[in-house]
């Protein structure tokens, strides 16, 4: 909930190229700084150490790229949402591009809770880093989809646990190196098979693409592209920029 919010806005952005090596927290710092550089009227939290009210969606693993990232930000006055993407992009590191902005409903749930599914394209290598063979990946995917359970070993805060990640896998497919129907962009040398996947994001129980690959066979990856995030609600599948957002910022509001 956003008590005291004045002009909440949701932004969509992409992260491509060299900047893929920038970690999630550093991306956040750079975006916050870009708002300051362009003098956007950020709303700040109260208290001893005020910070701007910006909340980010699901973290993107360092090394991965994305065409579909989101953040919610609050301003103390209305801003020109048409101009915002290009103005903010001008102050961002090359490769981070703001794609769209929409006025957000005051009662919109936080992105991390609202987003329920993400889609990925991931180049697959064997554990030694060489390109995986298409046949091996196809066989592993078929076996994984047929299985009822899929064990994934995770290390969190020094503790090892074994999760069943089969329930989060919605879709898993592989395309040949080079030939990539339905693959929107190529993120790695064209010599590797590309796995596309859709994963449910259950708070605290999601899976990363690399974990999925490790669970289905002797595969790994150190990069990939997030192509979509989805908010699913009442049987509908909505892009986050269109969920809980309104067409334009109201001119005045009672407070």
């Amino acid at each position: 909930m956003r008590g005291g919010a004045q002009f909440p806005v949701r932004l969509q952005y992409s992260k491509r190229g060299k900047v893929r090596f920038l970690g999630h927290r550093d991306v956040a710092r750079n975006i916050e700084r870009a708002f300051r550089i362009q003098r956007f009227p950020l709303a700040f939290s109260e208290g001893f150490s005020p910070h701007p009210k910006i909340s980010f969606g699901l973290a993107l693993t360092t090394g991965f790229e994305s065409d579909d990232e989101y953040l919610d930000v609050e301003f103390v006055e209305a801003v020109d949402l048409e101009a915002l993407p290009s103005v903010l992009t001008a102050a961002l590191p090359p490769g981070i591009t703001v794609l769209g902005a929409a006025a957000l409903d005051e009662r919109a749930p936080a992105l991390q809770e609202a987003v329920t599914a993400v889609e990925w394209e991931v180049p697959v290598t064997d554990l030694d880093g060489s390109a995986a063979t298409l046949g091996a990946v196809e066989a592993a995917i078929a076996a994984a989809l047929a299985a009822e359970h899929l064990e994934c070993t995770k290390v969190r805060k020094g503790r090892t646990s074994i999760d069943d990640i089969r329930p989060v896998i919605r879709r898993l497919a592989v395309v040949e190196p080079g030939a990539a129907p339905g693959v929107t962009s190529v993120v790695a040398p064209m010599v590797m098979p590309m796995v596309t996947m859709e994963l449910a994001t259950v708070l605290g129980k999601g899976a990363k693409p690399g974990e999925v690959l490790a669970a289905i066979g002797p595969f790994t990856t150190d990069r990939g592209l997030r192509t979509h995030q989805w908010i699913e609600r009442d049987g509908m599948r909505i892009a986050p920029l269109h969920a809980d957002t309104r067409p334009r910022v109201p001119q005045a509001r009672a407070s």
């Binding site: 900047v19 710092r29 550089i37 150490s49």
Partner: protein, 661 residues
């Protein structure tokens, strides 16, 4: 293929903090290489996080890229994981701007801020694919140059660095570019020739142009190899800081770095005269930037960078003329987008300073740092850090009463004439500060940071035999034992073993270079990082080279010894330094010549320079502020005032080298 990115990229997925290596900072230049351009690679021989904020490197980066005949890129020491990965893949060191191989540049220019980075310098030259020793380089190799404070004793790297810049680089980089450009246009033949030409540029020291003659372990003479090579290389100094409003586009890193804020240099040089402080000695005279230019640089810098903090940097920022007005102006200029905090590094110890600090840290009152440096008034007179105890207590009381909860106090141990009661004075001061804090808050705590003193070239203490490892350890143990029951005092100290290695290079001569090389070859990179430092490796290297490290580190020098840096001049006459050393031993203080009559240290007179100080009077405050209240023993020794000035007597390479006292 000059862009190595496609080959580096796969390695970055496997290393820590890969964003160190991607460049793309706000303010980064788009390098335009071309046949008519001299290509500089500016290197900081430590991690990106430590090197990126370096103002000297950023200033030269801009000045060079503004020139039509030069292009400059940057590189930092790859962390050990990437270093290993590059070597395994057969890839060289690269620039972060365009990922160009280091070996493709005309000049590899290192910033030497401290001695323990020397092994990294050798490592980076090697990783660039360039022979580490000068003598093994040929015409196709880049010229390796270095500058920075540590270059004031260049000798330990004399066989590894082709040329050193002594002093400030703003002007001399133009002259170097022209000489190297002419060499390139002439077909880049005859390396000896270009080195000779570089050596004729004022402020440039080319060690291969000098032969060192020894008499046993001691230096007998330093002899130029050509008649047109100067006996002595004088430092370069920019007369007017207002002519150099750099960096105009301070780099804004994508990841967190040290000093991650806007930095605006408000003055250069310091004449407080702290005798242990090399920076204060070698950067004279004081040159203030005009208050108006400071304000403009702050305003434009904040707007450009989006930072919410600005540091007004110098060696003692509270000494800037009208600092309170400048600070108030900055705070008032802000239009309230979250607020901007101002920080003043190197605060003077007095209540005036705390007053400024409370003005500028209205929001975030986290901690304040003071540097009394020594535990007793007697010893503070020896080192000429004239802080009275009551000034410190007044400052601490003011700080606690205005909301600060944590105080940090910096001290040196192993100072000349230091006896155990001086050392224990550190503990007493700390305990008293806690007591004062208790009047205001139950949570009062004081962090005491103790560093082992390393004598440096061109200071009055350069003759002093540094404390050995055991002696420093004993002093620290003594403090630790005394402070153990006092939980509100948190004692931190530097490793005395690293202090010893630093001392070896700080006053080392040409022969010490081979020790550095051995340590590097044995894997000793990142020696400033405690996890990679091992004194045994240094001692083994000394043994293998037949070098007695104690002779360099703990031995007192006498007045007549030719010191390894005597042919390098910071402008301070050696006889002045010797007299100041004698005054130190007599516990005589020396006032700040910014506001009191000149005692002729040599810098202004020799180099036709003047202080550029807007205010003719010292700032208000305690003893250290006014420079007046030295009644308790700090009178100026009369012998210092009329210093006999004879340029001939100060010639360092003659047999009686600069020992006219």
């Amino acid at each position: 293929m000059s862009d190595l990115w496609p080959r580096i990229e796969p390695l970055l997925a496997k290393v820590e903090k890969p964003a160190r290596y991607i460049g793309m900072e706000r303010g980064a230049q788009v390098p335009a290489h071309g046949p008519g351009k001299v290509a500089w690679l500016l290197l900081y021989p430590d991690t990106y996080e430590i090197g990126l904020p370096n103002q000297g490197l950023q200033i030269l980066y801009e000045i060079l890229n503004e020139r039509d005949d030069a292009v400059a890129e940057r590189s930092y020491a790859p962390w050990r994981d990437l270093d290993a990965a590059l070597r395994a893949a057969g890839l060289p060191l690269f620039s972060v701007d365009s990922h160009r191989a280091a070996g493709d540049f005309d000049l590899l220019a290192f910033n030497l801020s401290a001695e323990l980075v020397y092994t990294n310098v050798l490592n980076l030259v090697d990783l660039a694919g360039v022979p580490v020793r000068n003598e093994d380089r040929t015409n196709e190799h880049p010229i390796v140059i270095a500058g920075g404070h540590a270059a004031f004793n260049p000798e330990p790297l004399a066989e590894y660095v082709d040329a050193f810049v002594i002093g400030e680089g703003e002007e001399v980089v133009a002259e170097i570019t022209e000489v190297v450009g002419a060499w390139k246009r002439g077909g880049q033949a005859d390396r000896e020739h270009v080195l000779h030409d570089l050596a004729t540029i004022p402020g440039v020291y080319v060690p291969a142009m000098y032969d060192i003659e020894y008499d046993g372990p001691r230096i007998a003479a330093v002899v130029p190899r050509y008649p047109d090579i100067a006996d002595r290389v004088d430092k370069r100094t920019v007369a007017d800081l207002d002519e150099w409003p750099y960096p105009k586009q301070q780099l804004v890193p994508l990841i967190e770095v040290v000093h991650d804020r806007l930095n605006v240099e408000i003055f250069r040089g310091c004449t407080r005269g702290c005798r242990f402080c090399q920076a204060g000695m070698i950067t004279r005279p004081v040159r203030e930037r005009s208050a108006e230019q400071v304000r403009t640089m702050v305003e434009q810098g904040l707007r450009r960078t989006g930072y919410d903090e600005v540091a007004l940097t110098s060696l003692s920022s509270a000494d800037f003329s009208g600092i309170d007005r400048v600070v108030a102006g900055i705070v008032d200029d802000q239009d309230g987008t979250g607020g901007v905090s101002v920080s003043l590094p190197s605060l003077r110890v007095d209540a005036f300073t705390v007053g400024i600090a409370s003005e500028i840290q209205k929001v975030r009152r986290t901690g304040l740092t003071f540097a009394p440096e020594a535990g007793s008034w007697r010893l503070r007179q020896v080192i000429n850090k004239l802080v009275l105890e009551e000034d410190l207590y007044a400052a601490v009381d003011a700080a606690y009463s205005q909301g600060w909860r944590r105080m940090k106090l910096y001290f040196l141990t192993g100072l000349p004439t230091e006896v155990d009661s001086d050392t224990m004075g550190i503990a007493e001061l700390a305990k008293n500060c806690v007591q004062i804090g208790r009047r205001h808050t139950k949570q009062a705590s004081v962090t005491v940071s103790v560093g082992g003193f390393v004598p440096k070239a061109h200071t009055p203490f350069m003759w002093f035999g540094q404390n050995g490892v055991e002696e420093l350890q004993r002093k620290i143990r003594m403090l630790r034992d005394d402070l153990r029951p006092h939980r509100q005092v948190n004692l931190k100290w530097h490793d005395p073993e690293a202090t010893y290695a630093e001392g070896l290079m700080s006053r080392g001569d040409r022969r010490v270079g081979r020790v550095v090389e051995r340590v590097w070859r044995a894997g000793g990179t990142f020696q400033e990082w405690s996890e990679f430092f091992a004194l045994d490796r240094w001692l083994e290297a000394c043994a293998a080279e037949g070098i007695d490290p104690d002779w360099y580190v703990t031995r007192h020098r006498d007045e007549h010894e030719i010191l390894p840096w005597d042919h390098i001049a910071a402008g301070l006459h050696k006889d002045f330094l010797w007299q100041d050393w004698r005054a130190a031993l007599a516990e005589h203080g020396l006032p700040d010549c910014r506001w009191t009559p000149c005692y002729d240290c040599g810098v202004c007179t020799d180099y036709a320079l003047e202080h550029v100080v807007a205010s003719p009077t010292a700032p208000a405050g305690g003893s250290q502020g006014t420079g007046q209240d030295l009644s308790r023993g700090g009178e100026v020794p009369v012998t210092l005032l009329p210093t006999p000035r004879s340029r001939e007597a100060a010639k360092p390479t003659s047999a009686t080298a600069g020992v006219s006292a």
